[in-house]
Amino acid sequence: MSQSSPVDSATTRSVKSDAESGPGSDNVVARRPRFLRNPLPGFGIGLGITVSYLSLLLLLPILACLAKAAELTPSAFLAAVWSARARAAYFVTFQTSLISALISAALGLLLAWVLVRYQFFGRRFLDALIDLPFALPTAVCGLVFSALLVEDGWYGQFLVPLGIQGAYSKLGIIIVLTFVGVPFAVRTVQPVLESMEADTEEAASSLGASRWQTFRWVLFPALWPGILTGFALAFARGLGEYGSVVFISGNMPFKTEIAPVLIVARLEEFSYPEATAIAIVLVGASLASLATINWLERRSQRYAN
């Protein structure tokens, strides 16, 4: 996430030199630290609000979390974090998030491609609908899919006779996580496709490349960072998702219990330190995937330059 200079350096310099040459302001401006020589007001109040808000709402709670986990001895921490039930819950969380993020990335590429490349009836309508999972409460998503996938539901009546159990299974978790993740994948690939110029493709095809070769060797490498970002966003979102999963998974320990559900179960038993220990593992995993996105983004920007 490289940022361009917020204030055009030429402007700053000219304003600064004006101020310095002005009467009565000889050294007042020059003596202040460089970043305060900006003539715009509101730095103090802006920084004050930002820092106190972040401290109160973000840093203090995180500190409380770490302090609570520190109440456990290392062996107790390990026991909480690495119990058989916890391991099963991480596995379910990781597996379902990974599979649904892969599906989201593939569907995202398909939808972005179709929406950007083809002119067809209903294109605007589909485009607008893709934002719905961003706006729809996840509880509604979980409720609807659990009703659709049960044996007499609209989807279940076709799937259950085929032996595909959607409700109260991992498949159900994967479906709702895909619903939640698809818009991330579409919206990260779409702008990249839109900004592509036709000339590289035309060059490739004029040199005799087939349509598939052009896609594989010309378009796909350029789309890859966008696809990866979408995948990682969907994955990180999936790791933490609770609202939709709780309706559909049945929450059976060792089978369909995800890590956030286990945290809530521990909380309801009032075992706060154990809940906190599992929470730290979960947050660590999603922070790692978000850090990977940022690293990839920086790398791809350097590549683009």
Partner: protein, 295 residues
């Protein structure tokens, strides 16, 4: 990690194309995905809620005092969170885009952290801090302040989850606008309120509104964090999404779907507003571009 939303201006142009049958196949696949994953579930909410008849649907919604209270609670908690985050978003975006100072990059990355924290974990953190056995809970209780298992806790948890939305919308926008207009205004003697109301706000108003709409949608729908801090006291601390879950657990499907329709209608109005805003933003961009070309 910025997701770009404003793309409605784009219209497909002729590029070296695939064979006709592949195009048809891909468009058909896109229709199947969007209908199967999004449109049919959406329609099903209304179908299931209205199946017992309009009368029953209506009485499910208004005759249950706990449901009425849940609706009222959601429409009060969400706006408070949105207002707090609007103030924060403006302050953070102004500080980060108009000034360079040590720690600026750190502040930017801190803004992303709530995205990495599972809503359930967010709720847990506030329970650890403000709960009865929490670090600050007992002290607060001596002063008669109860945050967890009460509505202020819902506000805190919702505010945390929706914290980055407005700031993340404003920062790239204000960065691309630059500071030239503000610097000119200051050199002409504008004070800080004139600067904000006459220069900055008119420039960022659509982007700000866009951020507010997204923030509001997420605040209304927030489940995990609110689930942990609310304590599920029916008629007291159940918001609409929590009410949906509770009715579902009580095997009251018609009731659950009735509340879900209200949430879905809110999501749909968010979607319509977003589409309209994208048009306005595109129009504003075009006007600005024209202006820049003429001068």
């Amino acid at each position: 990690m910025q997701i770009k939303h404003h793309h409605s201006a784009h219209v497909p142009t002729a590029t070296p194309g695939e064979p006709f049958w592949i195009r048809c196949l891909l468009i058909f696949a896109a229709y199947v995905v969007v209908f199967g994953l999004i449109l049919i579930p959406l329609a099903y909410v209304f179908f299931e809620a209205l199946r017992p008849g309009l009368q029953t649907f209506w009485s499910n919604l208004v005759d249950d005092p706990d449901t009425r209270h849940a609706i009222w609670l959601t429409v009060t908690v969400a706006p408070i969170a949105v207002i707090l985050n609007t103030i924060f978003g403006l302050a953070a975006a102004w500080t980060i885009t108009k000034f360079r100072f040590p720690g600026r990059a750190l502040l930017m990355s801190l803004l992303d952290v709530p995205f990495a924290i599972s809503p359930v974990v967010a709720g847990l953190m506030f329970v650890l801090l403000f709960g009865m056995q929490g670090y600050l809970g007992p002290t607060l209780r001596e002063y008669g302040i109860k945050l967890i298992f009460a509505w202020p806790g819902l506000v805190i948890a919702t505010t945390f989850i929706t914290m980055p939305f407005i700031a993340r919308e404003l920062i790239p926008l204000m960065q691309s606008l630059g500071s030239d207009e503000e610097l000119a205004a200051v050199s002409l003697g504008a004070n800080r309120w004139q600067l904000f109301w006459r220069i900055t706000l008119p420039n960022i108003k659509w982007g700000l509104l866009y951020g507010i709409i997204q923030c509001n949608a997420r605040a209304i729908g927030e489940f995990g964090a609110v689930y942990v801090v609310s304590g599920h006291i029916a008629g007291e601390t159940d918001t609409m999404p929590l009410r949906v879950e509770k009715l579902f657990q009580e095997y009251n499907n018609p009731g659950s779907f009735a509340v879900a329709t209200v949430l879905t209608l809110m999501a749909l109005s968010t979607l319509v507003l977003k589409v309209l805003l994208e048009h306005w933003i595109a129009a504003q961009d075009a006007a600005r571009f024209k202006e820049a070309e003429e001068s």
